[in-house]
Symmetry: D2
């Protein structure tokens, strides 16, 4: 039922990169998250996140100041943090974590407690590449030294991912 016509992509289909991290975050983590948000906005990626506080708010604030696009996929039905371009009120509780990482072409993980661990695991199960800064050491997560390194690596991964490539080509995946 979906038109087989070539995508009309004129640059509006941007790589979608999820940034995951805890709602309870200390100063180093939120500083890293804000840097990640700035870098993602500058390279023109769309930022997906859980849309609430802590790392999620910091990444959105960084992106917002650079004019970036931020999508909050909330676990509740509220408004999330004040730096969201688009709010998806999933009201799915923790089941939201699966929706978030599946929607991304690549994932950046910053710090993290059990919620972040679940997102890393769900991302790897969905074959998304995950780039982490001071996060869980799980086989499959690429450790990065700085938020900018994680962002640039995730951008490259997103661009070569089957999800982004098929979408840009106007094809369904798989």
């Amino acid at each position: 039922m979906i038109s087989p016509l070539k995508s009309r992509d004129d640059g509006r289909m941007k790589p979608q990169i999820a940034v995951i991290g805890p709602g309870n975050a200390g100063q180093p983590e939120t500083a890293d998250a804000e840097r990640a948000g700035r870098a993602l906005a500058r390279v023109g990626a769309v930022i997906l996140c859980g849309g609430k506080g802590g790392v999620m708010e910091a990444v959105c604030r960084g992106a917002w100041e650079e004019g970036g696009t931020t999508i909050g996929i909330l676990s509740d039905s509220g408004n999330g943090n004040p730096y969201l371009s688009i709010v998806i009120r999933s009201n799915l509780g923790n089941a939201r974590n699966a929706v978030l990482v599946q929607s991304a072409d690549a994932v950046v993980a910053l710090g993290g407690a059990y919620g972040t661990l679940s997102e890393i695991a769900l991302a790897l199960k969905s074959r998304r590449e995950v780039f982490g800064v001071t996060t869980w050491k799980i086989d499959g997560v690429v450790a990065c030294g700085t938020p900018e390194e994680a962002v640039f690596s995730a951008l490259s991964a997103a661009r070569r991912s089957p999800w982004y490539r098929s979408r840009q080509a106007g094809r369904e995946y798989p």
Copy 2:
């Protein structure tokens, strides 16, 4: 944990309007959907939809040609139609319908089979106003004569809704 600071809204927080309708749609319905998409893009609303074919593709195509922003909240984990600015790969099956309407500030219904009926019911249960063109006659749905009328009515409803107003004010809802 979410910053109590005032929203930094500089016009980027747009009303979010869901357009619902069947993936299997005839010519009159897709023509209406394309007109609704054009009108929504011109008034600067963000369009939420199921992201697949039929009415969903037609509304996105109309909006796309006017430079609008289209969000597809897919029931599967694919790419959806080729006119999506952002793709949310929910992979929730029919449970996606709840996520779609809860994310909207107001809803436009065009034509429709059982899936559309479930979205109308879920929207009304979530207290979203629903504006319909040749769709199910359900108590609570406002019947409109043209897609443009439905769009303008939905835009007004969205702007006065508690979801949009609290979001613009930088406040959580409720």
Copy 3:
């Protein structure tokens, strides 16, 4: 990965029948629901419901007194009403409605507001037969005069449904 061996069904695979109806229900509706619960328990069906109050609690109470099995698929992460054999804490909000009706082999609808309407629509979309007592008049819903008539009709529908038949035969569906 699932064993192709024949099912070891020795009578433990019972028809699964969902009973849907509002959490806010008056005396006639709860009396009907209690009768439906008793009838379902007597015929040996497993009862699926939303697990909360009103119609949901009444159907469970009726079944419980007859020694029936009641499964509550909750929209939150609580305990539901006190007459649940099994509690599924979905915490999915309204998205739970889709999970509930998809899990049933047939559906009984009693009374109902918008939530019930969404479940009727989702059930019909999933090709489940729906038997209603004083509920929404939607094309596809079979109107019944008494709760017992709805239960016996739903039991017949469940037993001839592809979901129940394939399950009893130890085969995957579809």
Copy 4:
């Protein structure tokens, strides 16, 4: 809306224990799973699992042979393995993992790839105690030497958990 009356528990409200593990499992893992299923059935626990093959099928087969009750919360809308007393057709994809562990009073983890890791993380985030046999070494998982040890520890944890205790007392949680 839910009756404040004391629960009518006459022994039918059993501890609910989730067993998590991969659909692709080797002989040692499936042998452990079958032993876990037998032990859980003997102690009268209700078994929750993903309902498919590998560890999930083995635990159900073990329980089935002992007359136990097995609930499969499927990620798809099929029938699952042939040893399920009750089938919940969630069709939520990986988001199902959250529903599964939230529904349990305690969790047993056997072996595991990324899906199991996500379930462990979601269980710990939901404050469920997790008992593992040759599974991920994550802070918070209690390592056990045998499936029986994991089952007995999980049973004790379930019985003292706030979810089971409030349910037995006929109270909502929290």
